[in-house]
């Protein structure tokens, strides 16, 4: 006869509540691990999906995923001319936040190298890739935009022509894909008034300088758009992505590019590692510590619950000792109840988590490896937390059955 089963059946309400409570706690522990996996997956998703072999970035920077990297747009053509480079794309990426239908809408704008890149590599759940070089957007479903919807960014409005899924920036914002030209237009959008003020300021600076006085033609030029002025830099891109021709050793291409004194070069894996070592590392530590704390708390709570459950059974335990039950039977009673709560709690955590986590704002990914690890931890804490109860049970004198 299994005493634990009988006791649990007799006190079913109490065990159910305890198990649900422990289950919720374990669900949070489980969720923490899943959130971390989600962050890593989201962070590296873009690098993985975009499928470039090498990344050319501003000299001595760690690239656009770690810090600001600025390169002249014409670097694209310099890289393309290197032998062994099959294809180049500019990487233009920045985040905008706009009020949209009453709440803040954050869009990570990714510029596609039109016309080479129409976003055909983006897996669409609805709609189509870009078919013209302006005013079209593929939006991640998390942005909440629907097909055919128009959204105003900068001076233009963009029509959503495709919807994709799980395309998230490292910060968790949904990505909007537009052409690189549109992305730059959105990034460097300046209001008409600001432009007029800037031109007027330029003119005044010119008039006050000797050159301006000597060469009035310059003052005339100062009132033209900055992009048309040779003395002003053109809009800049964050990086150049290149793919290597088949059969060519990427190391050769990298060696060649590294000879240039204005750029640094990384492989995709290199960018990935830099990303994980940087921002994501702290998140990982943070969440890891939380997991450890929560696991300890779960263990303490379980220990206390099992201790009180044992206290309630002091009389029964004394009686079992009185009639000569061996310790194994008494320990079995406590440990089995503990495992019952732990294992069932884990099951509840899994079932509830699976329904709850998809509604979280960021991805929560439960990997089998993490689940297995947590399962082991649950078994260990179930057994460890019954020690307090066992310690108490071992001290019970059969005498106490008489009182």
């Amino acid at each position: 006869m299994n005493l634990a089963a009988k006791d649990i059946r007799h006190n079913i309400g109490r065990f159910a509540l305890t198990t649900v409570g422990i289950g919720m706690l374990l669900m949070v522990v489980m969720g923490m691990g899943g959130i971390y996996r989600g962050i890593v997956a989201d962070a590296t998703m873009l690098i993985d999906e975009i499928g470039a072999d090498i990344w050319v970035v501003q000299k001595d920077t760690r690239g656009p995923f770690a810090e600001i990297s600025r390169l002249p747009a014409n670097l694209l053509y310099r890289v393309e001319s290197v032998r062994g480079v099959e294809d180049v794309r500019e990487f233009v990426f920045h985040t905008v936040q706009r009020d949209y239908e009453g709440s803040a809408l954050r869009i990570a704008i990714l510029g596609l190298s039109w016309p080479r890149d129409t976003g055909a590599w983006v897996s669409l759940i609805e709609g189509r890739p870009l078919v013209q070089n302006h005013y079209e957007m593929i939006a991640d479903e998390s942005l909440g935009l629907s097909l055919g919807e128009k959204i105003q960014l900068g001076k233009e409005s963009y029509e959503v022509v495709g919807i994709t899924k799980s395309m998230i920036s490292a910060a968790g914002d949904g990505i909007g894909f537009v052409t690189a030209a549109d992305a730059l237009a959105i990034q460097f959008n300046t209001s008409g008034e600001a432009l007029r003020l800037e031109r007027a300021a330029r003119k005044v600076r010119g008039e006050n300088s000797d050159i301006g006085a000597n060469m009035p033609i310059l003052l005339e030029q100062a009132s033209r758009a900055s992009a048309e002025l040779p003395a002003f830099s053109r809009p800049q891109i964050s990086a150049v992505m290149a793919s290597i021709s088949p059969g060519v050793d990427p190391a050769q291409v990298i060696a060649k590019l590294e000879g240039w004194s204005d750029v640094s070069v990384y492989t995709s894996q290199g960018q990935r590692d830099l990303l994980l070592k940087g921002t994501v590392e702290k998140v990982r530590l943070q969440i890891g510590l939380f997991r450890v704390l929560l696991t300890i708390i779960a263990a303490i709570i379980m220990a206390l619950i099992l201790y009180t459950l044992t206290l309630d059974k002091i009389h029964t335990i004394a009686l079992l000792k009185l009639v000569g039950a061996p310790n194994s039977r008494i320990l079995g009673l406590i440990i089995q109840e503990s495992l019952f709560i732990g294992v069932l709690g884990f099951g509840i955590a899994y079932l509830v988590g699976q329904r709850l986590f998809p509604n979280f704002p960021r991805r929560v990914i439960l990997t089998n490896e993490d689940l297995l690890q947590l399962g082991m931890i649950v078994i260990v804490i179930s057994i460890a937390s019954s020690f307090l109860g066992i310690w108490k049970a071992m001290r019970v004198s059969p005498n106490e059955a008489l009182s």
């Binding site: 006869m1 009988k6 009389h315 029964t316």
Partner: protein, 238 residues
């Protein structure tokens, strides 16, 4: 053969509770022998030390001094256990207490069954025999009830069944019939006597019930921690 040695023998058992000002001498120099098949009644006023004596013999309350022998084997020498007491209690001793002391989350038959399982019976056999015992005690129809659903008398009969479950060589009962009507009380006493005679168990019963004393082979009386033999004829004056 069992009959050659005493089922229970105590030699100069004493028990002192507390120390200094709060010291209570609950039992002094108690020397008693109970043969196999003998049924002994222990009489005496409340606080005279009867429970102290019974729990010392039952190996649940160590004496301060003196020895306890069961089936000729020294099991307690002063406060020192000379053997694995739990194993001894499991196989040799059956207890019934004033309070029924059933496990609250087990039903009547399971409360009896558990003792047999602890003693190595298979589940099916333990259950069958437990039901037989309940039958014998007239509570077979309550087999599936939890203790909380039973009356005090029914609980006590289940407790008696439990005490008999392991075929003990000694049975110790501390006012077992207090919760029973006199007819049921007498029945329980007769059952003890029957087990003693049929299985050669030594039985000690603490009782107040004057009307059932004829069932007992031997009477002992306790007063202020001192134990002495009494005669059936003088029991009326107790």
């Amino acid at each position: 053969m069992k009959n050659e040695t005493l089922a229970i023998a105590t030699e100069g058992l004493s028990k002192i509770y507390g120390s200094g000002n709060t010291e209570v001498i609950a039992m002094q120099d108690a020397s008693v022998g109970v043969k196999h098949g003998e049924v002994v009644a222990l009489l005496g006023p409340s606080g005279s030390g009867k429970s102290t004596f019974l729990t010392a013999v039952g190996l649940i309350n160590a004496p301060t001094a003196g020895r306890v022998l069961i089936n000729g084997e020294v099991v307690m020498d002063g406060p020192r256990a000379m053997t694995n007491l739990r194993k001894f209690r499991r196989s040799e001793i059956g207890y019934v207490f004033q309070k029924s002391n059933l496990i609250p989350f087990l039903n009547a038959v399971e409360n009896v069954q558990i003792v047999m399982e602890i003693n190595g019976y298979g589940v099916a056999e333990a259950r069958r025999r437990a039901l037989d015992l309940l039958e014998e005690l007239g509570v077979r129809d309550r087999a599936d009830n939890l203790p909380s659903m039973l009356s005090g008398g029914q609980q006590q009969r289940v407790a008696v069944a439990r005490a008999l479950a392991n075929h003990p060589s000694i049975i110790l009962a501390d006012e077992p019939t207090a919760a029973l009507d006199s007819q049921r009380g007498r029945q329980v006493m007769e059952l003890f006597a029957q087990v003693a005679h049929d299985h050669g168990a030594g039985v000690i019963v603490v009782t107040h019930d004057q009307r059932a004393l004829d069932i007992f082979d031997t009477l002992y009386e306790m007063e202020d921690g001192l134990i002495r033999r009494a005669e059936h004829s003088e029991s009326a004056t107790l």
